[in-house]
């Protein structure tokens, strides 16, 4: 009786140590940054592709685009609508980084939406988007060999339920950035916004 218990205990202990060790080795393969601590976020990232200091390559589940992803952020997946993908034609996600700023927690958000859009209507969508968000119709524009990037930043704040926008950087440091990135060789577009105001508590369909 006494003798039989011993091997079982030993096997159990051995197995536990083995599993623990495998888990540890596996975990230690990943970079020790918040983006890789989250198992959902990890699936989008290439751990061997630290594209630049502080960024890893993010690959969309649509297979249609890659972008740089800051290592402090984690993709949200608590609620159903936090992350959505529709085959290769649509994807939306948002990621959060809770940053300690002067003893307080500041929530920073990145929000993206990938979709297809007729290039002929580009100026109309761009104008509507920036007008809606910032009250101006002509954003900044950069072109490179692959994309056209329209972007704008502003400081957005609320007085009660009233939204106010300050576009002039000299008057206030921006807390919101928005970009519309259009592929030159297809009808694919990606909208990206960055927010460090505390107004995003839940996903929404602001467009």
């Amino acid at each position: 009786m006494k003798k039989r218990i011993k091997p079982i205990t030993a096997v159990t202990a051995g197995a536990a140590i083995l599993i623990g060790a495998i888990w540890l080795i596996n975990e230690s393969c990943y970079p020790n940054v918040p983006a890789f601590d989250d198992h959902f976020t990890r699936k989008f990232l290439n751990k061997d592709k630290k594209v630049e200091d502080g960024f890893y390559e993010f690959k969309s589940k649509t297979g249609q685009y890659t972008m740089w992803f800051p290592e402090e952020y984690q993709v949200l997946h608590k609620n159903r609508e936090d992350y959505a993908v529709n085959n290769d034609s649509y994807e939306s996600w948002w990621a959060v980084y809770n940053e300690e700023v002067e003893g307080k927690t500041q929530e920073n958000y990145i929000k993206t939406e990938f979709l297809t859009s007729n290039p002929a209507d580009e100026s109309i969508h761009v104008e509507a988007l920036f007008k809606r968000r910032f009250g101006l119709s002509v954003p900044n524009k950069i072109e490179n060999s692959q994309t056209r990037i329209y972007y704008q930043s502003a400081y957005i704040y609320f007085k009660g339920t009233e939204k106010h926008v300050i576009v002039d950087k000299k008057k206030h440091i921006p807390n919101t950035y928005l970009a519309y990135v259009a592929d030159k060789r297809s009808n694919k577009i990606l909208q990206i916004s960055f927010d460090s105001s505390d107004k995003y508590k839940s996903g929404d369909e602001e467009s």
């Binding site: 992350y83 959505a84 529709n86 979709l115 104008e127 509507a128 009233e162 926008v165 508590k201």
Partner: protein, 227 residues
């Protein structure tokens, strides 16, 4: 002796004042309809208690002053943060409201100004984005164009599945684009009841209610083409 008298009057005054204040509050509250929409003080500010427009609906007046619509009496506006209710002067307003009898039923109503000549492009984007399809139904009245569509949607893992116009799939999501014919005013309407599995009869009732709300939108006559 005087001491004793004073201590007696003071409690009496307090009791009297409490009864009075309570009474005034009670009378004031009793002036409002006894429905969830009026139980919430934030929601109440948008509604006209004397305008029960149809059974189950009160008139909702936007704070932009640009439109009115029917508001279901069991709904309440969410107002914990700026994503739930936000307004920008007279050009933008968005509210999100939840049913008090079914907490998984939401509607979002967004008012904005959109350039009229691009209407078809905005409509296409909206329905493409929401249902991956650009075949909305269209209703024309003298004053407005209503584009709307409905679908049964659900998530398979992170994949969003959309089923339109298929027997046995009662819609749990509605989207509408309502454009004023006399100005640039536009309302985008979103309804979702995604966790519910309705039967055909419940589906028809839901459909009727939503169509009532969509058709109830009235834009003002104030012609402003600056935006």
């Amino acid at each position: 002796m005087t001491m004793k008298k004073r201590t007696k009057t003071l409690p009496a005054i307090i009791v009297g004042a409490t009864i009075l204040i309570g009474g005034i509050w009670g009378i004031n509250e009793s002036r409002y309809p006894n429905v969830p929409a009026f139980d919430d003080h934030f929601t109440r500010e948008f509604l006209n208690k004397d305008k029960k427009v149809a059974s189950g609906f009160y008139e909702f007046k936007s704070k932009t002053g640009h439109y009115t619509m029917w508001f279901p009496e069991e709904y309440q506006l969410l107002h914990e943060n700026e994503q739930q209710y936000v307004k920008e002067g007279k050009v933008f307003e968005r509210y999100r409201a939840v049913s008090n009898s079914n907490e998984l039923e939401y509607m979002t109503v967004e008012f904005s100004k959109k350039i009229k000549k691009n209407e078809s492009i905005y409509v296409e984007r909206l329905f493409q984005e929401q249902f991956n399809s650009n075949k909305p139904y269209k209703i024309e009245t003298r004053n407005v164009s209503i584009y709307y569509d409905k679908a049964y949607t659900y998530f398979k893992g992170t994949h969003r599945q959309v089923t339109r116009e298929k027997e046995g799939y009662v819609p749990n999501e509605y989207v509408a684009y309502i454009a004023d014919k006399h100005s640039n005013s536009v309302i985008k309407f979103y309804f979702d009841n995604v966790k519910a599995e309705l039967n055909e009869r419940q589906g028809r009732e839901q459909d009727k209610r939503i169509m009532k709300i969509l058709k109830s939108v009235q834009f003002d006559d104030f012609k402003d083409n600056r935006n």
